[in-house]
Symmetry: C2
Subunit: 244 residues, 2 copies
């Protein structure tokens, strides 16, 4: 047996998220279909984590075991031939047999992009969240500092999740602006369900003046999802990197 | 009567170019449809120039005359409500009655983006031309210098065009690289049919070593379309700005 690690990119716009579902195009579904064509047998992949419908990835990692000695570069070429245009395999590596895309992951980095313009942008419509009103970058940076570190992020977890602990360590969280685009870059040892999008929503509310720094502190302490407010839309989110 | 100047953005991926055509979605067609809804009468627009199917724009300019006193910001809001998601109006201004989007244009700026990676990119597939092989940036920059200035660009004009003169002045032409993306930025007083894409194709051939600087000089002098070679695909091209 051999353990293979894939780094994949996808445009989530027309995909129903990562996890396999019947009669729906998903990343896992398309990937397993391509693997079946390539290896002529059913292969189950494990992803570093699920991404929701509409969420993109530049560095999602999946692993799978297979009994085959095809060269890694041939696996990459073969999969990229069989995969649809909105998914590609950027890198293929052999991994130790105990490597697992989800359980071996140390850090994950997500990027959330907000376009702040008067008018909607056709060319940016699939990979940014468009906001008409202005945001105060300084305030957003300050709120990001409050979220940094080890916290119980229960307030930022969407219901439907069944994790035991909501304690996560946010190793870095930056907000920057280039042209009309605000970029939130966040790295943590793990994320609760919809946590990045809830943090993005919170930072928007701070940037618009709806919430103060004090409010952010209260929201974290409350450990109550209702306190944190809304979830920013999927299209602005991209899984950039998984570190092992 | 009143003369109105619109600056528009579009994602050309699913549009059949600028010019109106029966039973096909085009920029002009969609724009005139939205104008008809807004002003309740048939309005004909003039664009700064046509763009082909698949070509994008961030700063295409169109003008039209109308007998109405609606505020410019209301024209913008109205059109953006009626236009489809792949077209938007960025700016609306009143212009002198003798202003004409095509005939008053002084300079046009186009951008051509080439993605140079081993693997195709789902997230960049609609706005870059993907190349697997490496390009020599220095050689491309040198070839750009050769093309700069006033030349007869007959070699770069696709057939089907009926212009009298093929003499154009290229005011600036730069090639730069950020990450995996090569960007060709070109400004001229006008462009022949498919001229930018033929120049992009030529610069790629120089970057890959297929053509030398000497070849480029010969191609310009030949005034023969067959000499310049292929036309780079539409998806990498974007009309950035029209200057009046």
């Amino acid at each position: 047996m051999r353990n293979v690690k894939l780094t994949i990119e996808y445009d989530g716009t027309h995909l129903h998220g990562f996890q396999i579902q019947k009669r729906k195009r998903t990343v896992q579904g398309e990937l397993e279909k391509a693997l079946k064509t390539l290896f002529r047998r059913k292969i189950r992949v494990a992803g570093s984590g699920r991404t929701d419908a509409g969420v993109h990835a530049r560095g999602q990692v999946v692993s799978f075991q297979v009994d085959s000695d095809i060269l890694t570069r041939k696996i990459r070429a073969g999969l990229n031939r069989y995969l649809p245009a909105d998914i590609s395999v950027r890198d293929v590596k052999d991994a130790p047999l105990n490597f697992h895309a989800q359980f071996s992951a140390k850090w994950k980095t997500y990027e959330y992009k907000i376009l702040q313009t008067q008018v909607r942008s056709p060319l940016e419509r699939f990979d940014t969240f468009w906001l008409r009103y202005e945001l105060d970058l300084k305030k957003m940076k300050r709120a990001a500092c409050v979220l940094l570190g080890k916290h119980n992020f229960r307030s930022f977890e969407s219901s439907g999740s069944a994790r035991k602990s909501a304690v996560r360590t946010v190793r870095s969280l930056s907000v920057s602006k280039t042209g009309d685009v605000f970029t939130i870059l966040i790295q943590a040892d793990g994320f609760l369900y919809k946590m990045v999008r809830t943090i993005a929503g919170l930072l928007v509310d701070v940037g618009s003046g709806k919430l103060s720094l004090g409010d952010v502190k209260v929201i974290i302490k409350s450990k109550n999802r209702k306190a944190a407010g809304w979830t920013a839309p999927a299209r602005g989110l991209c899984l950039k990197q998984v570190t092992y």
